[in-house]
Symmetry: C2
Subunit: 317 residues, 2 copies
Protein backbone atom coordinates (compact mmCIF):
# COMPACT_ATOMS: atom_id res chain seq x y z
CA UNK A 1 0.00 0.00 0.00
CA UNK A 2 2.70 2.47 1.01
CA UNK A 3 4.26 2.41 -2.46
CA UNK A 4 1.01 2.86 -4.29
CA UNK A 5 -0.01 5.56 -1.80
CA UNK A 6 3.17 7.44 -2.61
CA UNK A 7 2.52 7.13 -6.33
CA UNK A 8 -1.06 8.26 -5.89
CA UNK A 9 0.07 11.28 -3.88
CA UNK A 10 2.69 12.16 -6.52
CA UNK A 11 -0.01 12.12 -9.16
CA UNK A 12 -2.43 14.19 -7.15
CA UNK A 13 0.27 16.73 -6.31
CA UNK A 14 0.73 17.08 -10.07
CA UNK A 15 -2.97 17.88 -10.31
CA UNK A 16 -4.15 14.63 -11.86
CA UNK A 17 -7.95 14.65 -11.64
CA UNK A 18 -8.38 10.89 -11.42
CA UNK A 19 -5.81 10.66 -8.65
CA UNK A 20 -7.64 13.36 -6.70
CA UNK A 21 -10.98 11.60 -7.09
CA UNK A 22 -9.48 8.22 -6.17
CA UNK A 23 -7.77 9.71 -3.11
CA UNK A 24 -10.97 11.26 -1.82
CA UNK A 25 -12.74 7.92 -2.26
CA UNK A 26 -10.01 6.28 -0.20
CA UNK A 27 -10.31 8.67 2.73
CA UNK A 28 -14.09 8.31 2.57
CA UNK A 29 -14.31 4.55 2.31
CA UNK A 30 -11.04 3.09 3.58
CA UNK A 31 -10.06 4.78 6.83
CA UNK A 32 -7.17 2.29 7.28
CA UNK A 33 -5.63 3.35 3.97
CA UNK A 34 -6.17 7.06 4.59
CA UNK A 35 -3.16 7.15 6.92
CA UNK A 36 -0.65 6.09 4.24
CA UNK A 37 -2.01 8.67 1.88
CA UNK A 38 -2.03 11.54 4.34
CA UNK A 39 1.47 10.75 5.56
CA UNK A 40 2.94 11.58 2.15
CA UNK A 41 0.47 14.31 1.41
CA UNK A 42 0.46 16.28 4.64
CA UNK A 43 3.77 18.15 4.26
CA UNK A 44 2.41 19.58 0.99
CA UNK A 45 -0.75 20.98 2.55
CA UNK A 46 -1.77 23.98 4.60
CA UNK A 47 -1.49 26.54 1.83
CA UNK A 48 -5.07 26.83 0.64
CA UNK A 49 -7.58 29.18 2.14
CA UNK A 50 -10.56 27.24 3.48
CA UNK A 51 -13.93 28.97 3.34
CA UNK A 52 -16.91 27.43 5.13
CA UNK A 53 -20.55 27.99 4.17
CA UNK A 54 -23.33 26.57 6.28
CA UNK A 55 -27.07 26.98 6.67
CA UNK A 56 -30.38 25.20 6.55
CA UNK A 57 -31.55 23.08 3.65
CA UNK A 58 -33.24 25.31 1.14
CA UNK A 59 -31.16 28.39 1.95
CA UNK A 60 -29.54 28.30 -1.47
CA UNK A 61 -25.99 27.50 -0.37
CA UNK A 62 -25.24 25.64 -3.57
CA UNK A 63 -26.16 28.65 -5.67
CA UNK A 64 -24.00 30.87 -3.48
CA UNK A 65 -21.09 28.48 -3.81
CA UNK A 66 -21.68 28.43 -7.54
CA UNK A 67 -21.56 32.22 -7.67
CA UNK A 68 -18.41 32.39 -5.56
CA UNK A 69 -16.73 29.80 -7.76
CA UNK A 70 -17.39 32.04 -10.78
CA UNK A 71 -15.91 35.04 -9.00
CA UNK A 72 -12.80 33.12 -7.94
CA UNK A 73 -12.38 31.70 -11.44
CA UNK A 74 -12.48 35.23 -12.87
CA UNK A 75 -9.68 36.07 -10.43
CA UNK A 76 -7.70 33.19 -11.90
CA UNK A 77 -7.89 30.80 -8.95
CA UNK A 78 -8.26 27.03 -9.13
CA UNK A 79 -11.23 26.36 -6.87
CA UNK A 80 -12.09 23.29 -4.82
CA UNK A 81 -15.55 22.60 -3.44
CA UNK A 82 -16.33 20.01 -0.78
CA UNK A 83 -20.06 19.63 -0.16
CA UNK A 84 -20.84 17.82 3.08
CA UNK A 85 -24.13 16.09 2.89
CA UNK A 86 -25.12 13.21 5.16
CA UNK A 87 -26.93 12.13 2.09
CA UNK A 88 -29.34 9.42 1.26
CA UNK A 89 -28.75 7.12 -1.64
CA UNK A 90 -31.18 9.27 -3.55
CA UNK A 91 -29.50 12.61 -3.11
CA UNK A 92 -27.17 14.11 -5.61
CA UNK A 93 -29.28 12.73 -8.42
CA UNK A 94 -30.97 14.80 -11.04
CA UNK A 95 -34.33 14.51 -9.35
CA UNK A 96 -33.19 16.78 -6.57
CA UNK A 97 -31.72 19.30 -8.85
CA UNK A 98 -29.83 21.42 -6.39
CA UNK A 99 -26.48 20.56 -7.90
CA UNK A 100 -27.69 21.62 -11.32
CA UNK A 101 -26.24 25.07 -11.22
CA UNK A 102 -22.91 23.75 -9.95
CA UNK A 103 -22.73 21.74 -13.13
CA UNK A 104 -22.05 25.04 -14.87
CA UNK A 105 -18.54 24.35 -13.70
CA UNK A 106 -18.58 20.65 -14.42
CA UNK A 107 -16.44 20.94 -17.53
CA UNK A 108 -14.05 23.54 -16.11
CA UNK A 109 -10.74 21.84 -15.20
CA UNK A 110 -9.99 24.72 -12.80
CA UNK A 111 -12.84 23.62 -10.54
CA UNK A 112 -13.05 20.40 -8.57
CA UNK A 113 -16.40 19.69 -6.88
CA UNK A 114 -16.91 16.74 -4.58
CA UNK A 115 -19.91 15.81 -2.51
CA UNK A 116 -18.99 13.81 0.59
CA UNK A 117 -21.47 10.99 0.75
CA UNK A 118 -20.32 9.55 4.04
CA UNK A 119 -23.04 8.35 6.29
CA UNK A 120 -23.48 5.96 9.11
CA UNK A 121 -20.08 6.35 10.72
CA UNK A 122 -20.39 8.81 13.47
CA UNK A 123 -17.41 11.10 13.54
CA UNK A 124 -15.96 9.73 10.32
CA UNK A 125 -17.55 12.51 8.34
CA UNK A 126 -15.45 15.25 9.90
CA UNK A 127 -12.25 13.25 9.48
CA UNK A 128 -12.91 12.37 5.84
CA UNK A 129 -13.87 15.95 5.03
CA UNK A 130 -10.66 17.34 6.48
CA UNK A 131 -8.69 14.73 4.55
CA UNK A 132 -10.50 15.73 1.35
CA UNK A 133 -9.62 19.38 1.99
CA UNK A 134 -5.95 18.37 2.30
CA UNK A 135 -6.14 16.44 -0.96
CA UNK A 136 -7.52 19.44 -2.85
CA UNK A 137 -5.04 21.70 -1.08
CA UNK A 138 -2.12 19.49 -2.13
CA UNK A 139 -3.45 19.41 -5.68
CA UNK A 140 -3.24 23.18 -5.84
CA UNK A 141 -6.86 24.22 -5.39
CA UNK A 142 -7.06 27.48 -3.50
CA UNK A 143 -9.49 28.60 -2.15
CA UNK A 144 -11.43 25.54 -1.04
CA UNK A 145 -15.10 26.04 -0.29
CA UNK A 146 -16.66 23.73 2.25
CA UNK A 147 -20.44 23.68 2.13
CA UNK A 148 -22.37 21.90 4.87
CA UNK A 149 -26.06 21.33 4.60
CA UNK A 150 -27.97 21.40 7.84
CA UNK A 151 -27.19 22.75 11.22
CA UNK A 152 -26.13 19.57 12.97
CA UNK A 153 -23.43 19.11 15.56
CA UNK A 154 -21.00 17.34 13.19
CA UNK A 155 -21.65 19.84 10.46
CA UNK A 156 -20.94 22.76 12.77
CA UNK A 157 -17.80 20.99 13.94
CA UNK A 158 -16.63 20.68 10.34
CA UNK A 159 -17.10 24.28 9.20
CA UNK A 160 -16.17 26.08 12.36
CA UNK A 161 -12.45 25.63 11.84
CA UNK A 162 -12.48 27.09 8.32
CA UNK A 163 -10.43 30.26 7.86
CA UNK A 164 -13.69 32.14 7.32
CA UNK A 165 -17.18 30.89 8.12
CA UNK A 166 -20.26 32.28 6.39
CA UNK A 167 -23.65 31.38 7.83
CA UNK A 168 -26.47 31.56 5.31
CA UNK A 169 -29.99 32.58 6.26
CA UNK A 170 -33.09 33.23 4.19
CA UNK A 171 -36.19 35.32 4.77
CA UNK A 172 -39.35 33.61 5.89
CA UNK A 173 -38.03 30.29 7.12
CA UNK A 174 -40.09 29.77 10.20
CA UNK A 175 -41.79 32.68 11.85
CA UNK A 176 -38.65 34.14 13.28
CA UNK A 177 -34.97 33.48 12.93
CA UNK A 178 -35.15 30.00 14.38
CA UNK A 179 -32.53 28.94 11.91
CA UNK A 180 -29.98 30.94 13.83
CA UNK A 181 -30.43 29.26 17.11
CA UNK A 182 -28.70 25.99 16.41
CA UNK A 183 -25.33 26.96 17.72
CA UNK A 184 -24.26 28.85 14.64
CA UNK A 185 -24.38 32.35 16.01
CA UNK A 186 -20.92 32.11 17.53
CA UNK A 187 -19.28 30.31 14.64
CA UNK A 188 -20.26 32.92 12.04
CA UNK A 189 -17.54 35.25 10.80
CA UNK A 190 -20.09 36.74 8.49
CA UNK A 191 -23.78 36.30 7.84
CA UNK A 192 -25.33 36.06 4.41
CA UNK A 193 -29.02 36.74 3.93
CA UNK A 194 -29.64 34.92 0.67
CA UNK A 195 -32.83 35.18 -1.39
CA UNK A 196 -32.88 38.74 -0.09
CA UNK A 197 -35.13 39.78 -2.98
CA UNK A 198 -37.91 38.00 -1.09
CA UNK A 199 -40.31 39.47 1.42
CA UNK A 200 -39.01 39.35 4.93
CA UNK A 201 -35.36 40.12 4.20
CA UNK A 202 -35.53 43.32 6.26
CA UNK A 203 -37.07 41.47 9.17
CA UNK A 204 -34.40 38.75 9.20
CA UNK A 205 -31.77 41.47 8.96
CA UNK A 206 -33.26 43.42 11.88
CA UNK A 207 -33.68 40.26 14.01
CA UNK A 208 -30.11 39.28 13.31
CA UNK A 209 -28.82 42.75 14.19
CA UNK A 210 -30.72 42.53 17.46
CA UNK A 211 -29.35 39.13 18.34
CA UNK A 212 -25.81 40.16 17.51
CA UNK A 213 -26.19 43.22 19.71
CA UNK A 214 -27.37 40.99 22.58
CA UNK A 215 -24.50 38.60 21.98
CA UNK A 216 -21.93 41.38 21.97
CA UNK A 217 -20.08 40.69 25.17
CA UNK A 218 -16.70 42.22 24.56
CA UNK A 219 -14.93 44.37 22.05
CA UNK A 220 -14.80 41.60 19.46
CA UNK A 221 -15.76 42.87 16.02
CA UNK A 222 -19.34 42.11 15.10
CA UNK A 223 -19.78 39.85 12.06
CA UNK A 224 -20.87 41.68 8.92
CA UNK A 225 -24.30 40.95 7.47
CA UNK A 226 -24.40 40.75 3.70
CA UNK A 227 -27.34 40.33 1.37
CA UNK A 228 -27.38 38.20 -1.74
CA UNK A 229 -29.80 36.81 -4.28
CA UNK A 230 -27.58 34.07 -5.61
CA UNK A 231 -29.91 32.81 -8.33
CA UNK A 232 -30.06 36.34 -9.76
CA UNK A 233 -26.30 36.59 -9.26
CA UNK A 234 -26.73 39.60 -6.97
CA UNK A 235 -24.38 40.41 -4.15
CA UNK A 236 -21.81 37.72 -4.92
CA UNK A 237 -18.97 40.14 -5.62
CA UNK A 238 -19.88 41.98 -2.42
CA UNK A 239 -19.78 38.66 -0.56
CA UNK A 240 -16.32 37.98 -1.93
CA UNK A 241 -15.27 41.43 -0.75
CA UNK A 242 -16.84 40.84 2.65
CA UNK A 243 -14.89 37.61 3.03
CA UNK A 244 -11.71 39.42 2.00
CA UNK A 245 -12.37 42.17 4.59
CA UNK A 246 -12.82 39.55 7.29
CA UNK A 247 -9.67 37.73 6.28
CA UNK A 248 -7.66 40.96 6.33
CA UNK A 249 -9.06 41.96 9.70
CA UNK A 250 -10.27 39.63 12.45
CA UNK A 251 -9.56 36.57 10.31
CA UNK A 252 -5.87 37.34 10.20
CA UNK A 253 -5.63 37.48 13.96
CA UNK A 254 -7.62 34.26 14.32
CA UNK A 255 -5.80 32.36 11.58
CA UNK A 256 -3.32 30.54 13.76
CA UNK A 257 -5.97 29.61 16.32
CA UNK A 258 -8.29 28.26 13.63
CA UNK A 259 -5.51 26.12 12.22
CA UNK A 260 -4.72 24.76 15.67
CA UNK A 261 -8.42 24.09 16.34
CA UNK A 262 -8.60 22.18 13.08
CA UNK A 263 -5.48 20.18 13.93
CA UNK A 264 -6.89 19.37 17.38
CA UNK A 265 -10.24 18.19 16.13
CA UNK A 266 -8.57 16.06 13.44
CA UNK A 267 -6.12 14.53 15.86
CA UNK A 268 -8.83 13.60 18.35
CA UNK A 269 -11.15 12.33 15.61
CA UNK A 270 -8.50 10.02 14.14
CA UNK A 271 -7.40 8.91 17.60
CA UNK A 272 -10.95 8.12 18.70
CA UNK A 273 -11.70 6.24 15.51
CA UNK A 274 -8.53 4.13 15.70
CA UNK A 275 -8.80 3.36 19.40
CA UNK A 276 -12.36 2.18 18.96
CA UNK A 277 -11.42 0.04 15.96
CA UNK A 278 -8.46 -1.49 17.80
CA UNK A 279 -10.34 -2.32 20.97
CA UNK A 280 -13.38 -3.59 19.12
CA UNK A 281 -11.17 -5.96 17.11
CA UNK A 282 -9.31 -7.26 20.13
CA UNK A 283 -12.08 -7.42 22.70
CA UNK A 284 -15.22 -7.89 20.66
CA UNK A 285 -14.26 -9.83 17.54
CA UNK A 286 -16.85 -11.42 15.26
CA UNK A 287 -20.17 -12.00 16.94
CA UNK A 288 -18.94 -10.97 20.40
CA UNK A 289 -20.09 -7.41 19.80
CA UNK A 290 -23.55 -8.58 18.73
CA UNK A 291 -23.78 -10.73 21.81
CA UNK A 292 -22.86 -7.87 24.14
CA UNK A 293 -25.28 -5.56 22.29
CA UNK A 294 -28.01 -8.14 22.88
CA UNK A 295 -27.27 -8.21 26.60
CA UNK A 296 -27.37 -4.42 26.78
CA UNK A 297 -30.62 -4.31 24.77
CA UNK A 298 -32.16 -6.88 27.13
CA UNK A 299 -31.16 -4.82 30.16
CA UNK A 300 -28.89 -7.61 31.47
CA UNK A 301 -26.00 -5.18 31.66
CA UNK A 302 -25.92 -1.39 31.37
CA UNK A 303 -23.73 0.21 28.70
CA UNK A 304 -21.44 1.85 31.26
CA UNK A 305 -20.66 -1.38 33.14
CA UNK A 306 -20.15 -3.17 29.83
CA UNK A 307 -17.69 -0.50 28.76
CA UNK A 308 -15.92 -0.49 32.10
CA UNK A 309 -15.20 -4.22 31.77
CA UNK A 310 -13.67 -3.54 28.35
CA UNK A 311 -11.68 -0.47 29.35
CA UNK A 312 -10.16 -2.38 32.29
CA UNK A 313 -8.45 -4.60 29.73
CA UNK A 314 -6.77 -1.63 28.07
CA UNK A 315 -3.27 -0.71 29.16
CA UNK A 316 -1.29 2.30 28.09
CA UNK A 317 2.47 2.00 28.22
CA UNK B 1 -20.45 9.06 44.54
CA UNK B 2 -21.92 5.53 44.29
CA UNK B 3 -24.04 6.05 47.40
CA UNK B 4 -25.37 9.40 46.35
CA UNK B 5 -25.99 8.05 42.83
CA UNK B 6 -28.11 5.28 44.32
CA UNK B 7 -30.07 7.78 46.39
CA UNK B 8 -30.57 10.01 43.40
CA UNK B 9 -31.81 7.07 41.32
CA UNK B 10 -34.20 6.02 44.09
CA UNK B 11 -35.66 9.51 44.14
CA UNK B 12 -35.99 9.74 40.37
CA UNK B 13 -37.61 6.31 40.21
CA UNK B 14 -40.18 7.70 42.65
CA UNK B 15 -40.82 10.50 40.17
CA UNK B 16 -39.10 13.33 42.05
CA UNK B 17 -38.83 16.23 39.61
CA UNK B 18 -35.68 17.74 41.11
CA UNK B 19 -33.94 14.37 41.05
CA UNK B 20 -34.83 13.95 37.37
CA UNK B 21 -33.53 17.39 36.46
CA UNK B 22 -30.35 16.88 38.50
CA UNK B 23 -29.76 13.48 36.89
CA UNK B 24 -30.07 14.86 33.37
CA UNK B 25 -27.62 17.62 34.25
CA UNK B 26 -25.19 14.96 35.45
CA UNK B 27 -25.32 12.92 32.24
CA UNK B 28 -24.95 16.13 30.24
CA UNK B 29 -22.12 17.71 32.16
CA UNK B 30 -20.32 14.97 34.08
CA UNK B 31 -19.74 11.99 31.79
CA UNK B 32 -17.61 10.31 34.51
CA UNK B 33 -20.50 10.37 36.96
CA UNK B 34 -23.07 9.24 34.39
CA UNK B 35 -21.88 5.63 34.72
CA UNK B 36 -22.73 5.35 38.42
CA UNK B 37 -26.17 6.74 37.78
CA UNK B 38 -26.96 4.56 34.78
CA UNK B 39 -25.73 1.43 36.53
CA UNK B 40 -28.50 1.69 39.14
CA UNK B 41 -31.06 3.08 36.77
CA UNK B 42 -30.65 0.83 33.76
CA UNK B 43 -32.53 -2.27 35.05
CA UNK B 44 -35.57 -0.02 35.54
CA UNK B 45 -35.62 1.22 31.97
CA UNK B 46 -36.70 -0.03 28.58
CA UNK B 47 -40.44 0.28 29.17
CA UNK B 48 -41.25 3.64 27.62
CA UNK B 49 -42.13 4.06 24.00
CA UNK B 50 -39.66 6.43 22.34
CA UNK B 51 -40.99 8.61 19.53
CA UNK B 52 -38.58 10.59 17.37
CA UNK B 53 -39.45 13.78 15.51
CA UNK B 54 -36.95 15.43 13.23
CA UNK B 55 -36.88 18.07 10.52
CA UNK B 56 -35.38 21.37 9.49
CA UNK B 57 -35.39 24.47 11.64
CA UNK B 58 -38.64 26.31 11.08
CA UNK B 59 -40.68 23.22 10.30
CA UNK B 60 -42.74 23.64 13.44
CA UNK B 61 -41.57 20.55 15.28
CA UNK B 62 -42.04 22.18 18.67
CA UNK B 63 -45.69 22.95 17.91
CA UNK B 64 -46.21 19.38 16.75
CA UNK B 65 -44.62 18.05 19.91
CA UNK B 66 -46.81 20.39 21.91
CA UNK B 67 -49.90 19.07 20.15
CA UNK B 68 -48.89 15.45 20.66
CA UNK B 69 -48.22 16.10 24.33
CA UNK B 70 -51.81 17.37 24.70
CA UNK B 71 -53.20 14.27 22.97
CA UNK B 72 -51.14 11.93 25.15
CA UNK B 73 -52.14 13.83 28.29
CA UNK B 74 -55.81 13.42 27.36
CA UNK B 75 -55.11 9.70 27.11
CA UNK B 76 -53.78 9.83 30.66
CA UNK B 77 -50.08 9.31 29.91
CA UNK B 78 -47.19 10.99 31.66
CA UNK B 79 -45.16 12.45 28.79
CA UNK B 80 -41.44 13.14 28.55
CA UNK B 81 -39.92 15.45 25.95
CA UNK B 82 -36.22 15.62 25.12
CA UNK B 83 -35.39 18.40 22.68
CA UNK B 84 -31.96 18.00 21.10
CA UNK B 85 -30.54 21.30 20.13
CA UNK B 86 -26.83 21.92 19.56
CA UNK B 87 -27.69 25.26 20.93
CA UNK B 88 -25.90 28.48 21.40
CA UNK B 89 -25.85 30.23 24.71
CA UNK B 90 -28.60 32.42 23.32
CA UNK B 91 -31.08 29.74 22.39
CA UNK B 92 -33.83 28.60 24.65
CA UNK B 93 -34.31 32.15 25.81
CA UNK B 94 -37.49 34.11 25.44
CA UNK B 95 -36.17 36.09 22.49
CA UNK B 96 -36.37 33.03 20.30
CA UNK B 97 -39.83 32.16 21.31
CA UNK B 98 -40.17 28.72 19.81
CA UNK B 99 -40.58 27.03 23.15
CA UNK B 100 -43.42 29.34 24.00
CA UNK B 101 -46.19 26.97 23.13
CA UNK B 102 -44.50 24.16 24.99
CA UNK B 103 -44.80 26.31 28.06
CA UNK B 104 -48.51 25.51 27.93
CA UNK B 105 -47.39 22.36 29.66
CA UNK B 106 -44.85 23.99 31.93
CA UNK B 107 -47.05 23.77 35.00
CA UNK B 108 -48.36 20.26 34.27
CA UNK B 109 -46.58 17.74 36.54
CA UNK B 110 -47.48 14.99 34.06
CA UNK B 111 -45.12 16.51 31.48
CA UNK B 112 -41.35 16.80 31.73
CA UNK B 113 -39.64 18.85 29.03
CA UNK B 114 -35.89 19.09 28.76
CA UNK B 115 -33.76 20.76 26.14
CA UNK B 116 -30.34 19.14 25.77
CA UNK B 117 -27.87 21.99 25.60
CA UNK B 118 -24.79 19.92 24.97
CA UNK B 119 -22.36 21.39 22.56
CA UNK B 120 -18.76 21.12 21.71
CA UNK B 121 -18.24 17.49 22.58
CA UNK B 122 -18.51 15.53 19.43
CA UNK B 123 -20.43 12.36 20.04
CA UNK B 124 -21.36 13.25 23.59
CA UNK B 125 -24.70 14.58 22.47
CA UNK B 126 -26.04 11.19 21.39
CA UNK B 127 -24.82 9.53 24.59
CA UNK B 128 -26.28 12.17 26.88
CA UNK B 129 -29.59 12.14 25.03
CA UNK B 130 -29.96 8.39 25.38
CA UNK B 131 -29.11 8.66 29.06
CA UNK B 132 -31.76 11.37 29.46
CA UNK B 133 -34.33 9.11 27.77
CA UNK B 134 -33.48 6.39 30.29
CA UNK B 135 -33.88 8.83 33.16
CA UNK B 136 -37.37 9.85 32.02
CA UNK B 137 -38.21 6.22 31.29
CA UNK B 138 -37.18 5.18 34.78
CA UNK B 139 -39.21 8.04 36.25
CA UNK B 140 -42.32 6.66 34.59
CA UNK B 141 -42.73 8.96 31.60
CA UNK B 142 -44.19 7.07 28.66
CA UNK B 143 -44.17 7.94 25.81
CA UNK B 144 -40.99 9.97 25.48
CA UNK B 145 -40.80 12.34 22.55
CA UNK B 146 -37.35 13.10 21.19
CA UNK B 147 -37.23 16.19 19.01
CA UNK B 148 -34.10 16.94 17.02
CA UNK B 149 -33.66 20.22 15.26
CA UNK B 150 -31.71 20.09 12.08
CA UNK B 151 -30.79 17.33 9.77
CA UNK B 152 -27.25 16.69 10.90
CA UNK B 153 -25.40 13.41 11.13
CA UNK B 154 -25.50 13.23 14.94
CA UNK B 155 -29.13 14.29 15.02
CA UNK B 156 -30.08 11.56 12.53
CA UNK B 157 -28.10 9.07 14.59
CA UNK B 158 -30.05 10.05 17.68
CA UNK B 159 -33.60 9.80 16.33
CA UNK B 160 -33.18 6.87 14.01
CA UNK B 161 -33.28 4.29 16.80
CA UNK B 162 -36.54 5.59 18.25
CA UNK B 163 -39.42 3.13 18.18
CA UNK B 164 -41.14 5.34 15.61
CA UNK B 165 -39.52 8.14 13.63
CA UNK B 166 -41.56 10.98 12.17
CA UNK B 167 -39.84 13.28 9.67
CA UNK B 168 -41.40 16.72 9.45
CA UNK B 169 -41.51 18.72 6.24
CA UNK B 170 -43.16 22.00 5.33
CA UNK B 171 -44.34 23.49 2.06
CA UNK B 172 -42.17 26.00 0.32
CA UNK B 173 -38.84 25.46 2.03
CA UNK B 174 -36.53 25.77 -0.87
CA UNK B 175 -37.75 25.33 -4.36
CA UNK B 176 -38.18 21.62 -4.08
CA UNK B 177 -38.00 19.05 -1.33
CA UNK B 178 -34.37 19.64 -0.60
CA UNK B 179 -35.09 19.15 3.05
CA UNK B 180 -35.64 15.48 2.37
CA UNK B 181 -32.32 14.76 0.88
CA UNK B 182 -30.17 14.86 3.97
CA UNK B 183 -30.28 11.17 4.69
CA UNK B 184 -33.67 11.24 6.33
CA UNK B 185 -35.67 9.45 3.66
CA UNK B 186 -34.68 6.03 4.90
CA UNK B 187 -35.05 6.75 8.60
CA UNK B 188 -38.66 7.95 8.32
CA UNK B 189 -41.37 5.62 9.57
CA UNK B 190 -43.84 8.29 8.72
CA UNK B 191 -43.74 11.72 7.13
CA UNK B 192 -45.56 14.74 8.45
CA UNK B 193 -46.24 17.69 6.19
CA UNK B 194 -46.72 20.43 8.75
CA UNK B 195 -48.07 23.92 7.99
CA UNK B 196 -50.12 22.11 5.35
CA UNK B 197 -52.60 24.97 5.29
CA UNK B 198 -49.95 26.86 3.33
CA UNK B 199 -49.52 27.03 -0.41
CA UNK B 200 -47.37 24.30 -1.77
CA UNK B 201 -48.54 21.46 0.49
CA UNK B 202 -49.85 19.50 -2.50
CA UNK B 203 -46.57 19.91 -4.30
CA UNK B 204 -44.47 18.67 -1.36
CA UNK B 205 -46.89 15.78 -0.98
CA UNK B 206 -46.62 14.84 -4.66
CA UNK B 207 -42.82 15.19 -4.67
CA UNK B 208 -42.59 13.03 -1.58
CA UNK B 209 -44.87 10.38 -3.10
CA UNK B 210 -42.68 10.35 -6.17
CA UNK B 211 -39.45 9.99 -4.16
CA UNK B 212 -40.92 7.22 -2.05
CA UNK B 213 -42.03 5.38 -5.19
CA UNK B 214 -38.48 5.64 -6.55
CA UNK B 215 -37.04 4.46 -3.27
CA UNK B 216 -39.37 1.47 -3.09
CA UNK B 217 -36.92 -1.37 -3.62
CA UNK B 218 -38.65 -4.29 -1.98
CA UNK B 219 -41.96 -5.16 -0.41
CA UNK B 220 -41.31 -3.03 2.67
CA UNK B 221 -44.36 -1.00 3.58
CA UNK B 222 -44.14 2.59 2.39
CA UNK B 223 -44.17 5.22 5.15
CA UNK B 224 -47.49 7.03 5.51
CA UNK B 225 -47.64 10.73 4.71
CA UNK B 226 -49.77 12.77 7.10
CA UNK B 227 -50.73 16.42 6.99
CA UNK B 228 -50.89 18.72 9.96
CA UNK B 229 -51.22 22.39 10.80
CA UNK B 230 -49.92 22.21 14.32
CA UNK B 231 -50.45 25.86 15.24
CA UNK B 232 -54.13 25.50 14.27
CA UNK B 233 -54.17 22.16 16.10
CA UNK B 234 -55.18 20.35 12.92
CA UNK B 235 -54.23 16.78 12.16
CA UNK B 236 -52.64 16.03 15.54
CA UNK B 237 -55.10 13.30 16.48
CA UNK B 238 -54.60 11.80 13.02
CA UNK B 239 -50.84 11.92 13.57
CA UNK B 240 -51.25 10.09 16.87
CA UNK B 241 -53.35 7.47 15.04
CA UNK B 242 -50.78 7.22 12.26
CA UNK B 243 -48.03 6.59 14.82
CA UNK B 244 -50.21 3.95 16.47
CA UNK B 245 -50.82 2.24 13.10
CA UNK B 246 -47.08 2.16 12.44
CA UNK B 247 -46.35 0.75 15.89
CA UNK B 248 -48.99 -1.96 15.46
CA UNK B 249 -47.69 -2.88 12.01
CA UNK B 250 -44.15 -2.50 10.75
CA UNK B 251 -43.02 -0.95 14.01
CA UNK B 252 -43.87 -4.10 15.94
CA UNK B 253 -41.71 -6.23 13.68
CA UNK B 254 -38.85 -3.73 13.87
CA UNK B 255 -39.07 -3.15 17.60
CA UNK B 256 -36.39 -5.64 18.66
CA UNK B 257 -34.01 -4.48 15.95
CA UNK B 258 -34.45 -0.82 16.89
CA UNK B 259 -33.72 -1.60 20.52
CA UNK B 260 -30.58 -3.51 19.53
CA UNK B 261 -29.51 -0.65 17.22
CA UNK B 262 -29.93 1.77 20.08
CA UNK B 263 -27.95 -0.47 22.45
CA UNK B 264 -25.17 -0.81 19.87
CA UNK B 265 -24.84 2.90 19.20
CA UNK B 266 -24.83 3.65 22.95
CA UNK B 267 -22.25 1.00 23.69
CA UNK B 268 -19.90 2.23 20.98
CA UNK B 269 -20.46 5.89 21.91
CA UNK B 270 -19.60 5.29 25.57
CA UNK B 271 -16.67 3.05 24.65
CA UNK B 272 -15.24 5.59 22.19
CA UNK B 273 -15.64 8.43 24.67
CA UNK B 274 -13.96 6.54 27.54
CA UNK B 275 -11.10 5.16 25.45
CA UNK B 276 -10.29 8.61 24.17
CA UNK B 277 -10.44 10.09 27.67
CA UNK B 278 -8.22 7.34 29.09
CA UNK B 279 -5.57 7.54 26.40
CA UNK B 280 -5.57 11.32 26.38
CA UNK B 281 -5.00 11.35 30.14
CA UNK B 282 -2.19 8.80 30.02
CA UNK B 283 -0.39 9.79 26.83
CA UNK B 284 -1.14 13.47 26.46
CA UNK B 285 -1.52 14.92 29.95
CA UNK B 286 -1.53 18.64 30.58
CA UNK B 287 0.07 20.66 27.83
CA UNK B 288 1.29 17.59 25.90
CA UNK B 289 -1.87 17.60 23.81
CA UNK B 290 -1.45 21.30 22.96
CA UNK B 291 2.14 20.68 21.99
CA UNK B 292 1.23 17.80 19.68
CA UNK B 293 -1.62 19.86 18.21
CA UNK B 294 0.87 22.63 17.48
CA UNK B 295 3.18 20.20 15.66
CA UNK B 296 0.26 18.91 13.58
CA UNK B 297 -0.90 22.46 12.81
CA UNK B 298 2.64 23.39 11.70
CA UNK B 299 2.77 20.37 9.40
CA UNK B 300 5.69 18.86 11.35
CA UNK B 301 3.74 15.64 11.76
CA UNK B 302 0.57 14.44 10.08
CA UNK B 303 -2.40 13.47 12.26
CA UNK B 304 -2.25 9.82 11.23
CA UNK B 305 1.42 9.35 12.15
CA UNK B 306 0.83 11.20 15.41
CA UNK B 307 -2.05 8.86 16.21
CA UNK B 308 -0.08 5.79 15.21
CA UNK B 309 2.62 6.63 17.70
CA UNK B 310 -0.03 6.90 20.41
CA UNK B 311 -1.95 3.78 19.45
CA UNK B 312 1.28 1.74 19.51
CA UNK B 313 1.44 2.41 23.23
CA UNK B 314 -1.99 0.90 23.80
CA UNK B 315 -2.22 -2.75 24.74
CA UNK B 316 -5.35 -4.80 25.12
CA UNK B 317 -5.18 -7.76 27.45
Amino acid sequence: MADSARQLVDRLLAGNIRAIARSISIVEQEPEAAGDLLRYLYPHTGRALVLGLTGSPGSGKSSLVDGLVSVFREQGSKVGVVAVDPSSAYSGGAILGDRVRMQDHATDPGVFIRSMATRGHLGGLARATNDAIDILDGAGYDPILVETVGVGQDEIEIVKTADAVAVVLVPGMGDDIQAIKAGILEIADLFVINKSDRDGADRVHADLDYMLALAQHDDAPRPEILRTAALANEGITELDEGIARFLEGAGKRRHGQRRRDRARSRLLAVLGEQLLALVQKKVLPGSALDELVGRVANREVDPYSAVQAIVERVEVR
